[in-house]
């Protein structure tokens, strides 16, 4: 008897709550019908196709703003550096336009001076921020062109592609999309955008004379020009510093032939030993581009 009463009460409660819920649902439905904001649903679909990292590489305030610009102002989809080809094609289909592929670029830090190889000239006690420390001799680092290593670029990378290894910033090319934020932030301006399939670089940024350079860093380019003599078209010498002109054309065998005496010219993959393991198990060409 008591059980039946309790059951009846529970049923009544459930029924009342259910009816209230239904009623409110109907109210919401009516409100949505009458008060919804008219928006172009293409903008929403394009926003979903874009990477959604809001990195600002396109020059607009986030992916939503860029989608609006594409639809309303006719902006070019290739403005988004992080967008991969498949998404770009789909966005083209939505708008009924054709979009050409964009050359993918990645960032690279032209410095090899980590804590073991670069010599510090003073103890620094202040903010752990590269831009703030740059006013104090780069946090006490002897080389005035070198990486300060306090991680401002790494903290601000929207894709988490920069690693600070032993006081030196290293960009992971597989995670980097080339948005250019780190390039702007670096106080020493030693991050550059290079083609995504670059194989090797000269990781030094110092324009000092070799004698001065060697006093402050054991890993800098000494300007011996062995590389320039071996492959004059692929290298460009400017005093004590040599730069690779076309980094996508260099191969491992070329580097072995040159045999850079300080090893400042080395393959990109040398910084990432995990790659070599991965390449053995996967097919070499299908490096799937991730739309982050």
């Amino acid at each position: 008897m008591v059980a039946a009463l309790i059951a009846a009460e529970l049923l009544m409660t459930g029924l009342i709550i259910g009816i209230i819920g239904l009623f409110l649902g109907c109210v919401i439905g009516i409100v949505v019908l009458f008060f919804s904001v008219k928006s172009d649903d293409r903008i929403e679909r394009i926003t979903e196709l874009l990477p959604g990292a809001n990195c600002g590489g396109c020059g607009y305030a986030g992916c939503g703003d860029f989608a609006r610009a594409i639809v309303e102002d006719g902006a070019d989809v290739t403005g988004c550096v992080a967008c991969n080809e498949a998404s770009a094609k789909e966005i083209g289909e939505i708008l009924g336009k054709e979009f050409a592929a964009r050359e993918k670029k990645v960032a690279v830090v032209y410095c090899s001076g980590d804590r073991d190889r670069a010599i510090h000239c003073a103890e620094y006690n202040g903010l752990s921020d590269c831009r703030a420390a740059a006013a104090y001799a780069g946090g006490g680092k002897g080389c005035r062109y070198g990486c300060v290593g306090m991680g401002t670029c790494a903290r601000n990378c929207p894709f988490g592609a920069i690693e600070i290894r032993n006081g030196l910033a290293i960009v992971h090319p597989d995670l980097c999309v080339g948005c250019g934020k780190c390039v702007e932030l670096c106080p020493r301006k030693l991050i550059h955008l290079v083609p995504a399939d670059s194989k090797a670089h000269i990781y030094c940024n110092s324009l000092e004379k070799t004698v001065v350079k060697r006093k402050v860093c054991k890993a800098g380019c000494i300007g011996c020009k062995k590389c320039v003599k071996a492959f004059p078209d692929l290298f460009n010498a400017a005093g004590g510093l040599v730069r690779v002109v076309e980094p996508e054309k260099l191969t491992g065998e070329d580097l072995e032939k040159i045999a850079c005496p300080v090893h400042v010219l080395h393959l990109v993959e040398e910084d990432f030993p995990a790659w070599q393991k991965r390449e053995k198990t996967q097919e070499p060409e299908a490096e799937k581009e991730k739309n982050i």
């Binding site: 620094y124 202040g126 001799a137 006490g140």
Partner: protein, 366 residues
């Protein structure tokens, strides 16, 4: 500058040159200005506050014996332990070394009765440290006074266990009642006023002297006004607190209570009774003045103090609780960001923008 004398290149003798020693550049520190610092660091400030609490701790031991020490030790140890465990759990460097957990533990212990069971102390410490402080981000980020929040939580959650107060050991005066526990003077006065009885006893000089030295029932720190005052004067002398806060609290309470007694006599005992009983003194000098949860500007501190004074009186006289200091402190802590905003001091040379524009200098944004 007259250069009439000829200056030739000095020929320093070899020994003289050897004696001159230049500084080692390897040891030089490169850091931004300023290059000198004055004043104590955070940990030292906390230690100095703890030292100023020692008179109150001694008084608690004198009147309540070993039970007082038991409560204080349990509270302090569990506060420090919880902070250490939290830092382990979130993988941060341990912050127990800045002594803020120890201070919170001591204040928490001084705010509760000596008969509080151990599990209540530990639960209160947990709430004070973890819920009221660490969850917000640690020292400096909490909006509410951790000790006050812990005490309120203990009062709400274990009110039975919390409202048992021991009778103090009779040191200066004759014992009042032959019992082990008793109600605090505040609750006795409230029930007396509620029943329409006379409040003569509570205004008598005999009682007030007992209240001043501390030989009344109550929590460990609130009984002895003398000990708290000694500590409070120490705090003000060492410039550890803003004196505006305790002075404005006490002044507001005094004025409010005298007004109440003037317009409706018999509602509540007199000014001195209110100043000497309950957690008013301890709260005014040690808890309301907690730097993290009090306003930054002096004007703001005065507003804060007046607010606390008003709330305490209202809760005590018209509210249902006999004691309202912890509630008053926590309620005013909630208003501190607003107080800071409205008592914002204008920069030197600030001009009302409506009163005219000045051309910004090079590099400044309009």
């Amino acid at each position: 500058m007259t250069m009439s004398e000829e200056n030739t290149v000095p020929h320093a003798s070899a020994e003289e040159k050897q004696k001159v020693r230049l500084p080692e550049t390897k040891n030089l520190i490169l850091s931004p200005s300023p290059h000198i610092q004055v004043g104590p660091g955070s940990a030292k400030i906390m230690c100095q506050v703890i030292v100023c609490l020692i008179p109150a701790i001694i008084a608690a031991f004198v009147f309540f014996g070993l039970h007082a020490l038991r409560v204080l030790v349990i509270c302090t140890a569990s506060c420090a332990a919880f902070e250490y465990l939290w830092c382990l759990a979130v993988k941060r460097k341990s912050t127990v070394g800045d002594f803020s957990a120890v201070l919170t533990g001591l204040l928490l212990g001084l705010n509760i009765s000596s008969l509080t069971p151990a599990w209540v102390c530990i639960a209160g410490s947990f709430i004070a440290i973890i819920i009221a402080k660490q969850v917000y981000g640690g020292l400096g980020q909490n909006p509410f006074n951790p000790a006050a929040v812990g005490r309120i939580a203990m009062l709400m959650g274990a009110s039975g266990a919390m409202t048992q107060y021991a009778v103090p050991r009779s040191v200066f005066f004759a014992p009042v009642a032959d019992a082990l526990t008793s109600a605090t003077p505040l609750s006795m006065a409230e029930s007396a006023a509620g029943m329409g009885k006379s409040l003569e006893y509570f205004n008598s000089s005999g009682f007030l002297w007992r209240a001043f030295t501390g030989e009344i029932a109550g929590s460990l720190g609130e009984t002895s006004v003398l000990a708290v005052l000694i500590g409070g004067i120490g705090l003000m002398a060492l410039r550890l607190i803003r004196w505006q806060i305790p002075v404005s609290i006490l002044a507001t309470v005094a004025i409010f209570v005298s007004l109440v007694n003037h317009f409706s006599p018999g509602t509540t005992p007199g000014v001195l009774f209110h100043l000497f009983t309950g957690g008013l003194m301890l709260g005014a000098f040690f808890m309301a003045t907690d730097m993290v949860t009090s306003p930054v500007t002096v004007k703001g501190c005065i507003v804060f103090g007046v607010g606390i004074g008003l709330l305490v009186c209202v809760i005590r006289i018209y509210g249902s609780y006999p004691e309202g200091m912890s509630f008053a402190i926590v309620l005013m802590n909630a208003l501190v960001p607003l107080i800071d905003k409205f008592c914002y001091i204008k920069p030197f040379g600030h001009q009302n923008i409506k009163a005219g524009r000045i051309e910004p200098r090079r590099g400044e944004i309009k």
